[in-house]
């Protein structure tokens, strides 16, 4: 397990050394979202009965930032290592592929949760957000980080240049997070788009996460938990398979 701890340590230190870019920058951009959307829509929208739009928005934004940063951590670290060639030092070592998987996913989780917690800490003074079921919120935060950390590994392995990784992020991850109910309750959508939203796994992550705060959600948190768990199992198995095969790494 020493190899796993070393890789985890390296990955955490790596993003911490560029904390302005990896932690503070997403905090700032999320705060700008909050400022603009709450100012424009705050008085016009009530997503859940008795819950102000700003209160509704904050957990969604926190989860969105958490997911995007978890993805960015593993994917950018891997592609940088591949392009600069220093991935060789890991591949020459006896660290096993499950250890590599776990270390990258946990480092992504640490960054994602750090950014998510940062958003709550900053907004704490301005907005009163209830935390009805903290365990639900924690479970969805962790599952979301795991899924996106693992997806980041897939993208980092697949992409051969930064442009491809940016495409993965801009055409898949960002649309899925924006269209997952971060800024609205899907009950406010027309029936067709409500159905489409149910095909988006990020919707279940954000809806379940929000349930932890307000005790209210668009669908049952148990169902969300089931969908998210299945997604995690599928992404994890796929990622482990890629790492085991050595696809684009050991050839």
């Amino acid at each position: 397990m020493k190899g796993f701890y070393s890789l985890l340590y390296k990955e955490v230190v790596r993003f911490w050394k560029v904390g302005f870019q990896t932690v503070l920058s997403p905090l700032l951009s999320t705060m700008l979202y909050l400022l603009i959307f709450s100012h424009v829509l705050g008085d016009h929208v009530e997503a859940f009965p008795g819950v102000s739009y700003v209160s509704f928005l904050i957990p969604g934004l926190a989860m969105m930032a958490l997911l995007q940063n978890a993805f960015a951590n593993s994917s950018s670290s891997l592609i940088q290592s591949k392009i600069t060639g220093n991935i060789i030092f890991l591949l020459l070592s006896p660290v096993s592929y499950p250890e590599i998987f776990l270390a990258y996913v946990l480092a992504s989780t640490i960054r994602g949760v750090l950014v998510g917690c940062g958003i709550f800490l900053i907004t704490l003074w301005a907005v009163d957000i209830p935390l009805r079921f903290p365990l639900w919120a924690l479970v969805f935060a962790l599952l979301g980080s795991f899924i996106l950390g693992a997806t980041g590994i897939v993208a980092g392995i697949w992409a051969e240049k930064f442009d491809q990784l940016a495409s993965f992020q801009n055409f898949i991850i960002v649309p899925l997070t924006f269209l997952s109910g971060v800024f609205y309750s899907i009950h406010s959508l027309p029936p067709f788009w409500q159905k489409v939203s149910h095909l988006n796994p990020f919707f279940y992550l954000i809806d379940g996460f929000r349930y932890g705060f307000f005790g209210v959600s668009d669908i049952s948190p148990y169902f969300s938990l089931l969908v998210v768990s299945i997604c995690l199992a599928a992404v994890s198995l796929f990622t482990l398979g890629l790492l085991k095969s050595g696809y684009k790494l050991r050839n």
Partner: protein, 299 residues
């Protein structure tokens, strides 16, 4: 005693290119071994197969008796590889890189050995410097340090002196020699054939993925048929009878081919008969470069 490296019928193909083609090779523990060949001969692919950076299409490879696929953890602990490319992690200092690398190999509390390697490679003053701030030569030294951090019995150096200045090259070879003297097996690829000739006790030559020569350095040198004699004559005109054997002119010398040493007698006789006087004669000893050229030409 297990061989340091055992390769049995290893093959690796990229598309239609056979990079490594049914290679059989054993390297005993304690050897200083050279793997030579022109660019694209398959040297780096063979090293990648041994170190687990690439997987063979067929065949078996083992390091210190450990199969590189089935017992990859033990095999990788037994080998340190200095890669050909000058790769580094721009986020970390030299010491951090070596500590993380130690951790990958399951080693904690490695500070004393890290300090020793840093001192031996003249890197102590750069221990807390970020990798980005190092010169190319310094980065090359760190690559060597990374390969040694887990004290592997087998060390593979893939063109470690490419683009390295003379001073560092000599210091590096002195260090590698001392490692070999203390029992480490050294496998080296290089395009500087005089280095291989001076350092290695056995040599394999690869061409198009196949081993085309494998012998001790002294036997390879003895086997060289590519000999020539350099003659300076007066008057400076070669008799017509010797022109078919003329390889070329070099600094005022006529360079003549010798298939056998006995050919020298007939050359001297022809010169005597033509009235030419020999003012200087050089009979160079064949070096590894001559052996290499001959083998690559004939195989």
């Amino acid at each position: 005693m297990n061989p340091a490296i055992a390769i049995h019928q290893a093959s690796k193909q990229f598309g239609s290119l056979k990079a490594v083609d049914c290679v059989d090779l054993e390297i005993a523990q304690g050897e200083f071994f050279a793997l030579l060949g022109p660019n694209g001969a398959g040297k780096t692919t063979l090293i990648n197969l041994l170190s687990g950076l690439s997987r063979p299409d067929s065949g078996r490879l083992a390091i210190m008796g450990f199969d590189v696929s089935r017992e990859y953890r033990k095999a990788r602990r037994s080998v340190g590889v200095v890669p050909q490319e000058l790769v580094f992690d721009p986020f970390f200092t030299v010491r951090e890189v070596l500590e993380v690398q130690s951790g990958y190999f399951g080693i904690s509390g490695n500070a004393a050995w890290i300090d020793e390697i840093l001192a031996r490679l003249d890197l102590s003053s750069k221990a807390d410097t970020n990798m980005r701030a190092l010169s190319g030569g310094m980065k090359r030294r760190v690559l060597v340090a990374q390969a040694l951090v887990h004290k592997p019995p087998v060390i593979i150096l893939d063109e470690p002196t490419a683009g390295v200045d003379v001073e560092l090259r000599q210091a590096l070879w002195e260090f590698i020699r001392s490692l070999n003297a203390s029992g480490h097996t050294i496998v080296l690829t290089t395009h500087y054939l005089e280095e291989a000739e001076a350092l290695c006790n056995r040599i394999a030559m690869l061409k198009a993925g196949k081993i085309v020569a494998l012998d001790t350095t002294s036997n390879l040198l003895k086997s060289c048929k590519l000999r020539h004699v350099k003659l300076q004559i007066f008057p400076d005109r070669l008799p017509d009878a010797l022109l078919p054997g003329l390889i070329g002119r070099e600094s005022g010398y006529h360079v003549l081919n010798l298939d056998e040493f006995s050919d020298l007698e007939s050359i001297l006789e022809t010169l005597r008969e033509s009235g030419a006087r020999i003012t200087d004669m050089v009979l160079p000893h064949p070096d590894l470069e001559a052996v290499f050229v001959e083998i690559m030409r004939t195989q």
